[in-house]
């Protein structure tokens, strides 16, 4: 691609990295605030969410301008298309962190009935998947990223199933736990959706590199 | 910017832009002196160049105008020039030019078309160009001598000796190199893309050559022809030994013929001053004829050239 377009793409990549970091922080801090019932942290997560909207709009605008200005084709246009779709996924990932923080706020006055194990683990995997997906998108290397993401997707899906059953057991034992139990399932659901979006980013990367929308 | 304003100031007060006779001002530097000197001396040379032209024209007009009477044009020569006019010479010149052209033009233009459109850069091509270039530089007296030996003597059975035919053929030899070369250059100047356009429409080579290529450079070819005509109209040397003498207009090409340049020559050499005066008058006629052909050539080349070149 031309040097001008390359310069523009580099700028867009920087913004995407920034947006990725924000999304990842939202998940990390949102889950941490939930685990520790840290209201201050939750409040911060809620406040930071607006930045994700801003970045989303800005990156979209930059991509559209690049398309209008350069009329790119082949890899160049696939790349920009991938970015446009990836930022939607990143926006959702960050949103789920925000949603988790909202749940923390709802937990005010409530307490956990067990030590959280699966949720932090799911969060860890989700964060790792997101970072992996963004790396692949920015650095444009395949290296079986998609396969790896799909495997981790399965792990998280399984974890969510297990958590659901476990929490159900606790709730049946003591009906007073039902509210908190439902919050646990919600958080697990958010994390599962978030990592689905990370996989989606992986698919966009794949399309960018190969032009195919199916695997291999 | 400050500099620009200063510059404007300087220009306002400086010498260079004062209106009027800048060349009268003293030069401010050695460079300017040389520049001015060159300008002046070149101008001087240019003026000098035109002096002979004006000198000749004036001389001829002054001495010839009195003799320029209708009789001169209308009547033929009588009494070896002491009486009568030069009608036979005028008509004779026209006949010579027409027949010479009639012979030279098809040959030259045909050869030009062949060498530029049809033949490859081969031997024949080079030979034709080389001989044409050489012939173009041969002095006219040599043509006259050759014409005498070849047409008047060697081919006397065919030409009848010193006749209109011999003279015309000699003149045509002089025309051929000029017309050939100018036609070649004109044809070559036509962009290849025009020929390609014609061929791409399914036209044959000949059709293309005739309807596009020649047509595109037609004014240039015509100009070349007219210039060649103007040249031979005024030639004397080729005609001296090849045309013979005729006090009237010949009715057959196998008769002798009088011509303007030759007549002027003989009148000028004549002991009788009355006849000498007629030479000047005849000169005016010849100059006028040649000049008008040149003017027409110029007009043709410019007028139609605009149509062709525009765009």
């Amino acid at each position: 691609m031309s040097k001008l377009l390359a310069a523009k793409v580099d700028r867009i990549k920087d913004y995407i990295k920034e947006m990725g970091q924000l999304a990842v922080s939202a998940i990390r801090d949102g889950v941490e605030s939930f685990a520790k019932l840290d209201q201050e942290l939750a409040a911060r997560v809620v406040a930071e969410d607006a930045k994700l909207d801003e970045l989303d709009a800005m990156i979209e605008s930059e991509c559209i301008r690049a398309i209008a200005q350069f009329q790119p084709v082949a890899t160049d246009v696939r790349r920009l298309s991938a970015y446009l779709k990836a930022i939607t996924d990143l926006r959702r990932i960050g949103r789920y962190g925000y949603d988790t923080a909202l749940l923390t706020q709802r937990m005010k006055g409530l307490e956990h009935f067990k030590r959280l194990v699966k949720i932090p683990e799911m969060a860890r995997i989700t964060i790792e998947m997101t970072q992996q997906a963004i790396d692949a998108l920015i650095n444009e290397k395949d290296e079986n990223t998609l396969k790896s993401l799909m495997d981790q997707d399965d792990v998280v899906d399984d974890a969510m199933e297990e958590l659901f059953r476990e929490v159900l057991t606790y709730a049946i034992e003591d009906p007073r736990r039902i509210t908190v139990a439902m919050y646990y399932t919600l958080v697990a659901r958010y994390l599962e959706r978030a990592e689905d979006h990370a996989v989606s980013i992986g698919w966009h990367s794949h399309y960018m590199l190969t032009g195919r929308r199916r695997f291999r | 910017m400050g500099n620009a304003e200063e510059g404007v100031e300087t220009m306002k007060t400086g010498n260079a832009l004062r209106k009027g006779r800048s060349w009268l001002r003293l030069p401010k530097s050695r460079r300017e002196f040389l520049d001015r000197a060159a300008y002046v001396s070149l101008g001087f040379v240019a003026v000098l160049l035109t002096l002979p032209f004006f000198a000749i024209i004036l001389d001829v007009i002054v001495k010839g105008l009195p003799g320029l009477t209708p009789t001169l044009i209308w009547e033929s020569i009588r009494n070896l020039g002491r009486e009568g006019g030069i009608r036979n010479a005028i008509v004779g010149s026209v006949e010579l030019v027409v027949i010479a052209s009639g012979v030279a033009l098809p040959i030259s233009i045909g050869a030009a078309v062949y060498t530029t459109e049809y033949s490859r850069q081969g031997r024949l091509h080079q030979i034709v160009e080389f001989t044409a270039d050489v012939l173009a530089g041969v002095p006219s007296i040599v043509f006259g001598a050759f014409g005498y030996v070849f047409f008047v003597w060697l081919l006397r059975a065919f030409t009848g000796g010193a006749t209109l035919l011999s003279g015309a053929l000699t003149l045509s030899l002089m025309m051929i190199p000029t017309v050939l070369r100018t036609s070649q250059e004109s044809l070559r100047a036509v962009p290849i893309t025009l020929r390609e356009a014609s061929l791409a429409l399914g036209a044959t080579k000949w059709s293309t050559t005739w309807r596009v290529t020649i047509r595109a450079c037609f004014p240039a070819i015509v100009t070349g022809i007219l210039l060649a005509v103007a040249r031979i109209a005024g030639e004397t040397a080729p005609l001296i030994w090849t045309t013979g003498y005729n006090s009237d207009t010949p009715w057959s090409i196998f008769d002798a013929v009088a011509s303007l340049p030759f007549t002027i020559f003989t009148f000028a050499m004549h002991p009788d001053p009355v006849v000498n005066a007629k030479a000047y008058a005849a000169s005016i006629v010849l100059i006028l004829i040649v000049l008008s052909v040149d003017v027409v050539a110029n007009w043709v080349s410019r007028r139609v050239g605009i149509l062709v070149r525009k765009g």
Partner: protein
């Protein structure tokens, strides 16, 4: 659908220079095919073979077969003048004849034996209409063609080619010398013309090729590197050389 043009195992040389290497190509009727590639890749040579203009070049020779409407155009029985009527050509630099607009358009038909003023009038009108030039020049058909603007001259050349009713229209970088607005007009014309003619267009301009064509052929150093539907090549070219060319890594 039957191919309009089939090129089979075409190899061509200018003297010792191997300009086209084993080209195999099929052009479908009523489509626009763009032939692209960097300078010197052989694209102009390729289309000049299709109307046998290559015959004019002294040390040109080739092997392989070229079929138009299933007939071998190099067959000794073929009337090359008739072939050139059926295969129209528009050149890179507009080259109208130094004649009137009318005579330019009538030149082709006249060459091929059409006569009669009514006939010519009809043909001239129809051809100029197809080239979207009629309205601009209908009142000045007798004016010299050279007075027209560049864009108009090129449309005139197009009308001239269409006047002999070709089936295949070849265009060699037709807008290379035109301003953007004229260029756009001609591109729009091409989109309309393809309903009646099969068009092959050589172009340097990637954007134009992608805009205008249905099929795209990419030539590099005499080889046909890739040939396919324009839209899919624009999204995902199969060959890295095509990719490099499209993304401007070499011009």
């Amino acid at each position: 659908m039957e191919a309009k043009v089939e090129i089979k195992a075409l190899n061509a040389w200018y003297g010792d220079f191997h300009v086209l290497k084993n080209i195999n190509l099929q052009i479908l009727p009523y489509t626009v095919t763009a032939v692209m590639g960097p300078s010197g890749c052989g694209k102009t040579t390729l289309i000049r073979i299709l109307n046998r203009l290559c015959d004019l070049v002294p040390d040109f020779h080739m092997t392989g077969r070229v079929l138009v409407d299933r007939r071998d155009i190099f067959d000794p029985d073929v009337d090359v003048y008739q072939l050139r009527r059926e295969v129209g050509f528009v050149f890179q630099k507009p080259n109208p004849f130094p004649m009137s607009i009318y005579d330019n358009v009538a030149y082709g038909p006249r060459t091929h034996g059409i006569h009669g003023e009514t006939q010519f009038n009809k043909i001239v009108r129809r051809s100029l209409q197809q080239a979207a030039l009629w309205d601009e020049v209908r009142h000045r058909l007798a004016e010299p063609a050279m007075k027209l603007s560049g864009g108009q001259q090129q449309r005139l050349c197009l009308a001239r080619a269409l006047a002999v009713e070709p089936v295949l229209l070849l265009m060699d970088e037709p807008v290379a010398f035109l301003d953007p607005i004229s260029a756009q007009k001609i591109e729009e014309l091409v989109m309309i013309l393809k309903k009646r003619y099969t068009i092959i267009m050589v172009t340097h301009n990637v954007q134009q090729a992608l805009r205008v064509s249905d099929w795209a052929a990419f030539l590099y150093l005499g080889e046909l590197v890739e040939f396919g539907k324009t839209s899919s090549i624009a999204e995902t070219p199969a060959d890295p050389r095509t990719e490099a060319f499209l993304t401007g890594r070499f011009g």
